[in-house]
């Protein structure tokens, strides 16, 4: 694909200097400067709530700039609109709201830049363009499939393909590999490298050190909406980056969690549910963390949903503390002490426009001692909320704060707080650390440690390989709905989990 970038290598494509963005009195971004140069991959690093998304929104024109200067292709543009930004060549892959679900892939691909002939859409041309862009990235998505029929990984790839089809110039990627498999990520990396050599300016947001090292030329680190540092990646160590991002040393990232298994708390035999869960058997004992790993879409999330009664079970048994549950429903499972913490916090776990306190107590409201004659005992519940919030260190520590005003990590704490509001024996966590920052992760790991020490049985579903490997006492790996491996403590390595997740056998085992 011929690319007409007029830019010279190293020339500044877009920049913000001393930019600030306020929401009321809260500074989402204060006095931040960044320069995106042509032919350079610029990494942006920061915890959730550090202002990364705000910074991106200023570059794409979706937010107004309150203070500071913004330039695009050398020209000052104080009042940038999304349309102007696109025209200038800024292409974005945002995390969660890029696509229109009821339109087809090709309709989404061309959205906002439809080609017309005499006023009518030139559908053949647009299709050809999309296929060419897909070839560049090495992916194949059916152009006529509706977006809501695509998998999450396909949707993510479509977003990236769409960004590549825009006017050449800059590409902004916000955690693009979060839902991609290893192969797909590799395609993306080579596409990024190709674009860099063609002179695009690339802004890449990622939490994964490996990607940052591999792709980045420059890294800018933000913390609490402030600029902390900007380094060439060659001159900076991982520890230094993490320290700058978190604001303190990360001595031991994954806590040591003692393994003291006692009785079997949850047992699943031959569980099948829909297309994605086929004949799964495993057991979780009290006082241990059992990991469930595999690629995105391998069915590991559906296992927990089926156990908790959120999707119908076709075959198999669920046994909690020795009692067989014939037909799991959320109410029944909660009653026998199993709690499920869904992946989609905003969609399934929280009432976003209600307060922290209300969210935490919603499960206890039905219990006898929390209400007299239908009137809620505010003081009892208030104490409960206070206890939970201290235990979890919810920030800000205001029970009346609306949940939607909290950061991702603190929302996660509220979800956990709700689970802790009653005594539970079994916890099923589905991607608990997705989209939360390093500090909140560490807090969460400590909570896991405490729960495990208190004798809880924990089913831990995660796509983050490192955390899965480091925290789990035992791991079951899934591939396309089947369980391909059970790894005991001594056998757990990243390589083995990856191999089984791709449905292969690890090399050493073959020999």
């Amino acid at each position: 694909m011929p690319v007409q970038t007029h830019a010279v290598e190293g020339e500044v494509f877009a920049s913000l200097s001393n930019a600030s963005k306020f929401y009321g009195s809260f500074a989402a971004l204060k006095d931040v400067s960044i320069k995106l140069s042509c032919g350079e991959v610029h990494m942006l690093l920061g915890e959730n709530g550090a202002g990364k998304s705000t910074l991106v929104s200023l570059l794409t024109g979706t937010n107004r700039l309150d203070e500071g200067k913004r330039t695009l292709r050398g020209a000052d543009c104080p009042n940038l609109t999304p349309l102007e930004a696109r025209e200038a060549g800024i292409n974005t892959v945002l995390q969660d709201f890029g696509l229109a679900p009821t339109l087809t892939a090709v309709e989404n691909y061309t959205l906002g830049r439809e080609k017309t002939k005499g006023g009518f859409l030139d559908k053949a041309q647009m299709r050809a363009d999309m296929i060419r862009a897909m070839e560049k990235l090495g992916v194949s998505i059916d152009p006529d499939a509706r977006v809501d029929t695509l998998t999450r990984a396909e949707q993510q790839l479509l977003e990236i393909v769409r960004a590549l089809g825009g006017k050449p110039g800059a590409l902004i990627l916000d955690e693009p590999t979060a839902t991609l498999s290893h192969d797909e990520s590799e395609h993306l990396f080579s596409a990024v490298q190709l674009l860099r050599s063609e002179g695009w300016a690339i802004l890449y947001i990622s939490h994964r050190m490996e990607e940052i090292r591999r792709l980045g030329d420059v890294v800018t680190i933000l913390r609490d909406g402030r600029f902390v540092g900007c380094h060439r990646l060659a001159d900076v160590s991982n520890d230094q980056m993490i320290t700058e991002m978190v604001g303190r040393e990360m001595a031991n990232f994954y806590p040591e969690i003692p393994h003291n298994p006692t009785t079997v708390a949850l047992e699943v035999k031959g569980l099948s549910s829909g297309q994605k869960v086929r004949d799964i058997s495993f057991a979780v004992r009290a006082g241990e963390i059992v990991g469930l790993g595999g690629l995105v879409g391998c069915g590991k999330a559906e296992v927990a949903r089926a156990i908790f009664g959120l999707q119908p079970i076709d075959d198999g048994q669920v046994i909690v503390a020795g009692t067989r549950i014939s037909k799991p429903t959320p109410a029944a499972m909660l009653d026998c002490g199993l709690v499920y913490l869904p992946q989609d916090r905003r969609g399934e776990a929280l009432a976003l426009n209600r307060s922290v306190a209300e969210n935490i107590v919603v499960e206890v409201l039905g219990e006898k001692n929390s209400a007299t004659a239908g009137f809620v005992k505010t003081s009892v519940l208030g104490r409960l909320v206070a206890d939970v919030m201290t235990r979890l260190k919810v920030q800000p520590a205001e029970p009346r704060k609306l949940v939607q005003e909290l950061s991702g990590g603190n929302q996660q704490k509220v979800v956990l707080g709700r689970a802790l509001s009653r005594s539970r024996k079994i916890f099923a966590f589905d991607e608990p650390t997705a989209g939360i920052d390093v500090g909140a992760r560490l807090d969460f790991y400590k909570q896991l440690q405490q729960l495990c020490a208190e004798g809880a049985a924990i089913l831990f579903i995660s796509s983050d390989l490192q955390e899965l490997v480091h925290l789990s006492h035992r791991i079951y790996v899934m591939h396309e709905g089947f369980c391909t491996a059970e790894l005991d403590q001594g056998q757990i390595t990243e390589e083995r989990v990856i191999a089984y997740a791709f449905g292969e056998k690890p090399k050493e085992d073959i020999q």
Partner: protein
């Protein structure tokens, strides 16, 4: 670079599309055929040529309004004020035509043109008010159009003092209202270009893509650089203009300006669109489906007339049909979520 294998895969398109097609129309064609058979058995005149022409004539008005309603539904809103717009148009256009025909008694075409222009103005103005409320003031479409429905009805009653406006030109009443040309109702010739224009707009032009995108996911449309306000505004203005046009044709049909005209249209147009596959959440639906929905509503209405089911009972039936359509819509959503 080669088109390397990706684990995202290349999903075969045909089954998925066939399934989604079937879901978007649902059992509608089958139900329609069953209804036609039942009505035909109940009254053999049902499929006779005069009655089919009669149904065509009846369908024209709903067709125009449902196509307007579709535009708004696709963009994720809806318009409850279509009934009030019909009544307002009827009164305003009739008053204008009566006034012009008094001033120029020998120029019937001038009179009709003046009435048509007045119709367009009423439609654009009503649509502008709705669009302003929804797009600019960012008020929920339900509230805006419920309120404007009351406003337009009030204006209609104030202007007409609740009295019919009679004395419309002969050519208007007997030509456009009940005339036939080459064996088909004249009003059909008026409606087809408007409907065809909406079809092209929705399926083959940028405008359509944008309203689907807005209805499907507003934020993605914003990020894609679509001027949301402009397109929402345009949707409501087009909807009201189509509706006003239908109101004008209906005025010719009933041969006078009627202040109480069109009360059934909000329900019937939304029912027709939803039965035809439009989603109440926006972003979904097709002109062909809406056409089927309009045919369905018209067939049921006419069939019940022929079976001598009173209009009071018909209201009950259409209420049930609308609820059924919304349930169908929910079911579609659940199916979509499962995939």
């Amino acid at each position: 670079m080669t088109n390397a294998r990706s684990s995202a895969g290349n999903a075969p398109s045909t089954p998925a599309n066939a399934v989604s097609k079937l879901l978007s129309f649902g059992a509608l064609p089958i139900v329609l055929i069953i209804c036609i058979i039942i009505f035909q058995i109940g009254n053999p005149r049902f499929l006779s040529a005069p009655n089919v022409l009669n149904m065509t004539q009846q369908a024209v008005y709903l067709l125009l309004i449902a196509f307007g309603q579709m535009l708004v539904l696709l963009a994720g809103g809806f318009d409850l004020s279509v009934g009030a717009v019909v009544a307002l148009t009827s009164i305003v256009s009739a008053k204008v035509m009566v006034a012009v025909s008094l001033a120029y008694p020998d120029a019937p075409y001038l009179t009709i043109t003046a009435g048509f222009l007045a119709t367009m103005l009423v439609g654009l103005a009503c649509g502008w008010v709705n669009g302003f409320g929804v797009a600019i003031m960012k008020v929920n479409a339900f509230i805006v159009t419920l309120a404007t429905s009351s406003i337009f009805a009030g204006v209609t009653l104030v202007t007409s003092q609740g009295i019919q406006v009679s004395g419309l030109p002969r050519d208007f009443v007997y030509g456009i209202g009940s005339g036939y040309f080459m064996g088909l109702p004249v009003s059909l010739y008026f409606a087809v270009p408007a409907v065809a224009a909406v079809f092209l707009l929705v399926r083959h032009m940028r405008f359509g893509r944008y309203i689907y995108a807005i209805g499907s996911n507003v934020r993605s449309a914003v990020v894609a650089g679509v001027n949301i306000n402009r397109y929402l505004m345009a949707c409501y203005m087009l909807c009201a203009t189509m509706t006003a046009f239908a109101g004008w044709l209906l005025t010719a049909r009933v041969s006078s300006g009627e202040p109480m005209l069109g009360g059934e249209f909000p329900l019937q147009s939304i029912a027709a669109a939803v039965i035809g596959g439009c989603s109440l959440r926006g972003g979904e639906g097709s002109p062909f489906g809406v056409l089927l929905g309009v045919i369905f509503i018209t067939v049921v209405k006419n069939g019940m007339d022929l079976l001598r089911i009173g209009s009071n009972y018909q209201m009950i039936v259409f209420g049930v049909v609308l609820v059924g359509a919304v349930v169908l819509d929910r079911y579609r959503l659940e199916r979509a979520a499962k995939r």
